[in-house]
């Protein structure tokens, strides 16, 4: 295991060099993040489909329990139970539009991970940086449990547990626990825990900051200990269900799956679940007594329990929905946690947008009327009044507004329009609008995926490290 220890030390040193300006030492946060002996316990697996390039290169890396799809290269890196999903990467010949430029893509885009340590992290989408169209890089970076790196090339950064970096090129930053950043391009920032920041320069700037004393019971993280809180307990309680789907080679599909729907074999499906047409259920999703209407989706690390989604619902990576009834066309953003109770259900009206990293945790029934924008922490109707607004009213904001812990500057209509466009794009990419011939997406393309497994050295100096592996058609 010596080589793996050296590899981790090398990664820590490199990221500390990048974060020296912020005077941030990642060492105490990383050393015990995952015991290195875990790295020999799990195989890695990769998908093969006719719809995505197969170009995998792994050098001097550990990939324990990780899933890889598409064109991916790892060097000097440790990936632990991470999902590197290269099914939305750009293809050679595509044209990337950025401001007034139309830039041709010269070769298939690849995800390139070097000198990095990713723990239970999702990497997805494609590089939105016009300066690096063909390489979606992650360098000198550490991400803790359930972080999302979505369309965001990253260099020299540390992402805390449940942090998300979305459509943002990032260098030399610390992103705190449960913080969400979508800001185009950022560098040398230390963003505290529980920050939700969405910025489009010249258009709008949305910033919500959780009261830390109220966030901590859900998720908190400190030096020399793993992340703690309700979010972690919730996932740990369902760990054994996932163990089974990873251990058993041939699993029977537990529910009826329509022909235009994709149910990943590494998802957990518990009884009384119903899946309609054009639905996408990704690996590591968890459905229990869940009713998914046409075009709905449940992406990685989504938990949908005792809930009904009427259709065309986006449950983004890491979204949890419990004891809730969702109308149509509802977006539930990254790592949001929506929890009703059996006798106090949560009801969401059509066309509502639940911002990424929203927590709704109620003990009395709560109804969110149709067409609302919802953010932050909501435990009752008073919180809802403070942390929501109709999309119509939000669109009228022009200038600045402070609303509870939310600061917003810019044009509300632009903000709402940007989110609506993106939701439509996500549904389209996921295959929600497939009519039998047109608009196929992941729900259709991922149906005939097959998986192969790869293993690390189980003993000796290289214990836990995978041999150099090149996988091509």
């Amino acid at each position: 295991m010596k080589e793996l220890e050296k590899l981790l030390d090398r990664i820590i040193q490199r990221i500390n060099i990048n974060l020296r300006e912020l005077d941030y030492d990642v060492n105490p946060f990383i050393k015990n993040l995952v015991p290195l002996n875990q790295m020999v316990k799990f195989y890695a697996f990769y998908g093969i489909t006719p719809h995505h390039p197969l170009d995998l290169v792994f050098r001097h890396s550990s990939l324990a329990g990780s899933y890889l799809l598409g064109k991916i290269c790892t060097r000097n890196s440790i990936l632990y139970k991470s999902d590197i999903r290269g099914d939305e990467l750009k293809h050679q010949g595509d044209v990337f539009r950025y401001q007034k430029f139309e830039i041709p893509v010269s070769r298939d885009e690849g995800i390139d991970i070097e000198d990095s340590f990713l723990v239970k992290t999702l990497v997805h989408n494609f590089s939105h940086d016009p300066e690096t169209l063909e390489k979606f890089f992650i360098r000198d970076t550490v991400s803790a449990h359930y972080a999302n790196i979505h369309g965001s090339p990253i260099d020299g950064s540390f992402l805390g547990p449940f942090a998300t970096v979305d459509l943002t090129t990032m260098s030399d930053c610390v992103i705190g626990t449960f913080s969400y950043v979508q800001a185009g391009e950022v560098g040398h920032l230390n963003i505290g825990p529980g920050t939700v920041w969405v910025r489009s320069p010249g258009e709008f700037n949305f910033l919500y900051q959780y009261p830390l004393d109220k966030l901590n019971p859900y998720i908190n993280f400190g030096a020399d200990r793993p992340p703690q809180g309700l979010f972690i307990d919730f996932v740990e309680d369902r760990k054994e269900d996932f163990q089974r789907v990873f251990d058993v080679v041939n699993l029977e599909t537990p529910v009826s799956v329509p022909p235009n729907t994709s149910l990943d074999r590494y998802a957990v499906i518990k009884p009384k679940t119903h899946i309609s047409e054009n639905v996408l259920v990704s690996q590591r999703a968890y459905l229990q007594n869940a009713w998914l209407g046409k075009g709905a989706n449940a992406q990685e690390h989504c938990y949908i329990i005792n809930s009904r989604l009427e259709g065309f619902n986006v449950s983004a990576h890491g979204a949890t929905i419990i004891e809730a009834d969702l109308g149509k066309n509802i977006f539930v953003g990254f790592n949001s946690f929506l929890r009703g109770r059996a006798k106090s259900r949560l009801t969401l009206g059509d066309e509502s947008i639940i911002m990424p990293h929203t927590i709704i945790d109620i003990k009395k029934p709560l109804t969110i009327p149709p067409g609302h924008l919802v953010w932050g922490l909501i435990t009752n109707s008073a919180d809802l009044n403070l942390n929501s607004m109709t999309l119509k009213d939000f669109s009228k904001i022009d200038g600045g507004r402070v609303h509870g812990n939310l600061s917003f500057e810019g044009n509300g209509a632009s903000f709402v329009s940007a989110f609506r466009d993106r939701i439509h794009h996500i549904l389209e990419a996921n295959g929600a609008f497939f009519n039998g011939t047109d608009n196929p997406g992941h729900a259709q393309k991922n149906q005939n995926i097959s998986f192969n497994t790869i293993q690390p050295y189980t003993d000796g100096e290289l214990e836990g490290v995978f041999p150099t592996i090149i996988i091509q058609p």
């Binding site: 800001a183 920041w197 320069p201 700037n205 910033l207 600045g400 600061s407 500057e409």
Partner: protein
């Protein structure tokens, strides 16, 4: 430019407002008032107080802005407002939020009452390297030092001892006088 030396323009330390380390802001304001009463009324008013340690060495200066800064209520100005700039909010937006917080916060009378009890060391500015000038230095060099360092006063030294304070107002008066001489 002129034949003025710093020692001819400075206010001697004995005529300047000083308070010992450990004093309150209210002590400093009283010392300023007293020094002003005893000072030549034809000259510009003092604008600051020097803080002395137990050996009578100058360890800091307390200016008008420092006193106003002490009025800033920390509880009424949560850290998040200061953080807004790093998130790309405009200075106008941040200023507007501060105004709202201030109007909703502690009344000015209470702020003054609270601030008067605070210690001078918490708000004084420790003199930096460029704030010292020898008493025999010429006016030209003094002007250069004030302009380059954006200072409103310099501490005048004789050997290792601080013997006075050279104020921007007194330097300006000397320059003004020289200009008039040149034109007549």
């Amino acid at each position: 430019m002129s034949d003025y030396l710093v020692k001819e323009l400075m206010v001697p330390l004995s005529e300047y407002a000083t308070v010992p380390e450990g004093s309150t802001l209210f002590d400093a304001v009283l010392a300023l008032e007293k020094a002003q009463e005893e000072f030549d009324r034809t000259k510009y008013r003092h604008r600051g107080v020097l803080i002395l340690d137990k050996d009578k060495h100058v360890i800091g200066k307390l200016g008008q802005l420092d006193v106003l800064r002490a009025l800033e209520p920390k509880d009424d100005d949560p850290g998040e407002i200061g953080d807004l700039s790093q998130y790309g909010f405009s200075s106008r937006f941040v200023r507007d939020i501060r105004k709202v917080h201030r109007l909703q916060g502690t009344p000015l009378k209470d702020l003054c009452s609270n601030a008067s009890k605070l210690k001078v060391e918490d708000f004084m500015q420790a003199p930096s390297e460029g704030e010292f000038i020898d008493q025999n230095t010429s006016l030209e060099i003094a002007v250069l030092q004030l302009v380059m360092g954006h200072h409103i006063s310099l501490l005048v030294t004789r050997g290792k001892k601080i013997v006075g304070i050279l104020r921007l107002t007194d330097v300006f008066a000397a320059i003004f006088h020289t200009m008039k001489e040149c034109e007549t």
